[in-house]
């Protein structure tokens, strides 16, 4: 008498059979089928937690997204932990031939990407995404790469450069080093990532980052923010368990990004999510201008853009209203698995 076969047969047969009084009495203890859906929304919160003294989150289903703000949000770390990744170094004025030096080391690190969830990552300089690399068009970029990981790695920059600086053929073994040197061009917003095989593994483990090339004619002054969209497949089944911007799920829901009303906010947005075909960015209650790849003169005016893996672009926002505004992937699944945050607009 297996439970499931019983269920199938009886669920189908039960309505066909006239119920004798005795059987109806037996079923008297079960609740009417749609009973709970009649509860008022506020009803759930109290019943869920009041009767029990549980340590932990105060969040409730009825609170919806409101419950996903502040300390109730399951996000790791302190308020300024991701500042180095989110706020890029200053753009330097155009000065052809100037040398910009960076040092990047591949390190194997166990990263806490959601509260209590540790991911055995391969990183550039210990973080996922790696450090923001910034140069002005015409600069000579000199990146010294040391492989401190146990697997061979490279750095493959998007942009225009010689074949032997492309990070595809010159594989850097464990303990080895290589200096990538080339002129930073074209102006725009690019990415860099490891190109050792198997590529899928080397990228989803965390070897990627943002690469800004500022144009000869500087962009208008703005509050600049870098956002690298990614995912983490923590159980190795070929699909992501957590989605983030800048490496920690729900981080900007717990610590909203502070901006001022009326100021220009510029976001360098890139997608390095493995496994999923696209990722996206949606801003609530406001529109922005979007320049794909940060190049060219075509700007789209919208509140939602989408990027394939490796695609990136520049967003410019001027908030019209003060208050708290949500931003997230418009793939709701990604949003609810960590790719969601808020702007706190002051003034």
């Amino acid at each position: 008498m297996a439970k499931f076969s019983r269920r199938r047969l009886l669920a189908a047969a039960a309505p066909l059979v006239a119920a004798p009084v005795a059987a109806r009495v037996a079923l008297g203890g079960s609740p009417p089928p749609h009973d709970h859906s009649a509860h008022a929304p506020g009803d759930h919160a109290g019943r869920g937690t009041a009767s029990r003294s549980l340590a932990g989150h105060e969040g409730s289903a009825a609170g919806g997204h409101a419950a996903m703000i502040g300390d109730a949000v399951p996000a790791v770390g302190g308020p300024n932990d991701l500042d180095a990744l989110a706020y890029p170094p200053e753009a330097l004025p155009y000065q052809p031939g100037r040398v910009r030096e960076y040092s990047v080391t591949a390190l194997d690190r166990e990263l806490e990407i959601a509260p209590g969830v540790f991911f055995p990552a391969w990183t550039y300089n210990g973080t996922v995404p790696g450090p923001v690399i910034r140069a002005t068009e015409g600069d000579i970029l000199r990146v010294r790469f040391v492989n401190g990981g146990v697997h061979p790695h490279t750095i493959h920059f998007h942009g225009i450069h010689p074949s032997n600086m492309d990070g595809v053929f010159e594989i850097v073994g464990t303990g080895d080093a290589l200096t990538y040197e080339f002129e930073a061009k074209p102006a725009g917003f690019h990415v860099y990532h490891c190109h050792a095989a198997p590529l899928k593994k080397h990228i989803h483990k965390g070897l990627y980052g943002a690469f800004i090339v500022d144009p000869e004619e500087p962009r208008p002054a703005a509050r600049e923010i870098v956002m690298v969209m990614n995912g983490f497949d923590t159980d190795g089944d070929g699909s992501n368990n957590f989605y983030t911007v800048n490496g920690r799920s729900f981080y900007y829901a717990r610590y909203p990004i502070r901006v001022r009303r009326g100021e220009l906010v510029r976001i360098y947005l890139a997608n390095l999510t493995e496994f999923d075909l696209v990722n996206s960015f949606h801003l609530h209650a406001e529109f922005f201008r979007y320049q794909p790849t940060g190049t060219g003169d075509v700007w789209e005016y919208t509140d939602t853009i989408m990027q394939c893996q490796g695609q990136r672009g520049v967003l410019e926002i001027t908030f019209s209203n003060p208050g708290r505004f949500m931003f997230h992937a418009h793939q709701t699944e990604f949003a609810e698995l960590g790719w969601m945050g808020f702007f706190e607009v002051e003034g």
């Binding site: 008498m1 439970k3 499931f4 076969s5 019983r6 269920r7 047969l9 009886l10 669920a11 047969a13 039960a14 059979v17 006239a18 119920a19 004798p20 005795a22 059987a23 109806r24 037996a26 079923l27 008297g28 203890g29 079960s30 609740p31 089928p33 009973d35 709970h36 859906s37 509860h39 759930h44 019943r47 869920g48 937690t49 029990r52 549980l54 340590a55 932990g56 989150h57 969040g59 409730s60 289903a61 009825a62 419950a67 109730a72 949000v73 399951p74 959601a114 209590g116 969830v117 540790f118 991911f119 983490f232 923590t234 368990n241 957590f242 729900f250 699944e333 609810e336 698995l337 960590g338």
Partner: protein, 395 residues
């Protein structure tokens, strides 16, 4: 005096010597605990633990989902993140967050689930391994309430006591039957008990297989069967006359006990399946169980017909055989009975099969023509066939 002291010393001696292997084992265990890692180092490295949870039960309350999880592996396992339908959700843990071997905790998630729709819950360990449990249809889990208690009680009454009592009403008819026909009905009793025993044994193995390996395996079933069979043998000896064979009311009592422990498991299976939304308790099912179990009453009536049981004794027999269904429904409905269920079915199998032996001995002694008479063979087959046929109603 001298001889007495020697005997005492000898008696003490064998006990002391018996301790030697135990003490040496303790020393060996201590050595392995202290230096066990050295052996692994000589060979290679241990694979990482699976870090998967054993989801024992998922309950739905108003605006709330409760997930009872167990750690099935030797290494500690930490609850780090919880998803509902692929969305990370804030949660609280009633119990420890880091679970030692075979320890359980209840995860409580405030969630506005949709009645009757499929839902999945995921529990992610600190190492990022996600264990997902799919629920075919979310329905509110019955909570302990006077109403629910009464409901399960009535259910047990209907599928347990009522059919057995009805079956006992064959008693006046059986009293008037001649010896050959009575032997046939006794054989029928043996047939239906054999059916119940086999069915319970199969169910026990099936339920046991769903448990984590660290909770026993088939040995758990053997334990239940052995305890029940030996317990029934002991009871049979106590109830039997000086000739060592149970007859009349004593044999009826044994049959009633065998059926009773079976109904305990059956009530538990019904209660548990209903509580977690796997079983639709249609009137068809209740009727099915009633028809199925009427034959159990007949099985008790057959041996009782050769005694002179009072009405009170008959009522007691009906209670012994039928009432455990009520108890089982309560246990199944309100507790996580994942270990109890296979054990109960194993006990039922052992008891039923032992009673078959008792009934067989009785039939062999009293049947005209012995065990090979057409009435006995036909009766036994009729018993199995009756159980199988009526079993189709609840299959």
């Amino acid at each position: 005096m001298e001889a007495g002291a020697t005997t005492a010393r000898a008696r003490l001696g064998w006990r002391v010597w018996a301790l030697v292997p135990v003490v040496l084992l303790a020393i060996a265990v201590a050595l392995v605990v202290a230096r066990g890692g050295d052996i692994v180092d000589l060979i290679g490295v241990n694979p990482p633990p699976a870090d998967e949870f054993d989801v024992r039960r998922v309950e739905f309350g108003p605006g709330e989902i409760r997930i009872l999880v167990r750690n099935p592996q030797p290494d500690d396992l930490t609850i780090a993140s919880v998803t509902v339908d692929d969305a990370i959700w804030p949660f609280a843990v009633d119990g420890p967050t880091t679970l030692g071997r075979l320890r359980s905790s209840t995860i409580v998630v405030a969630y506005d689930w949709v009645d009757g729709e499929p839902i999945s819950v995921g529990v992610t360990s600190s190492t990022g391994i996600e264990t997902v449990e799919e629920i075919a249809a979310a329905v509110e889990t019955p909570q302990a309430s006077a109403r629910g208690f009464l409901g399960y009680g009535l259910l047990g009454l209907l599928v347990g006591i009522v059919p057995v009592a009805l079956g006992l009403l064959w008693l006046p008819s059986l009293r008037r039957a001649d010896a050959r026909w009575l032997a046939a009905f006794m054989a029928l009793t043996a047939g239906l008990l054999t059916f119940l025993g086999v069915e319970a044994l199969f169910e026990a193995f099936e339920l046991q297989a769903a448990l984590p390996a660290s909770l026993g395996g088939p040995g758990l079933v053997l334990l239940g069967v052995a305890v029940a069979a030996l317990g029934m043998t002991f009871l049979s000896a106590r109830l039997s006359g000086s000739d060592g064979a149970a007859t009349g009311v004593a044999l009826a009592a044994l049959v009633a006990i065998g059926i009773g422990v079976h109904n305990l498991g059956e009530g538990l299976a019904i209660g548990a399946s209903f509580a977690v939304g796997e079983l639709a308790l249609g009137s068809f099912l209740v009727i099915g169980f009633m028809v199925h179990n009427v034959t159990e009453g007949l099985g008790i009536a057959a041996p009782a017909s050769r005694g002179r049981p009072s009405l009170r004794v008959l009522a007691a027999l009906a209670l012994v055989a039928g009432a455990p269904a009520i108890l089982g429904a309560w246990i199944g409905g309100y507790t996580s009975s994942d270990v109890l269920a296979p054990l109960f079915f194993a006990v039922a199998a052992g008891a039923a099969l032992q009673v078959v032996v008792e009934v067989g001995r009785y039939v062999a002694r009293t049947s005209p023509g012995g065990l090979r008479s057409g009435f006995v063979v036909g009766g036994f087959l009729a018993g199995v066939a009756a159980m199988w046929t009526t079993g189709l109603l609840i299959a």
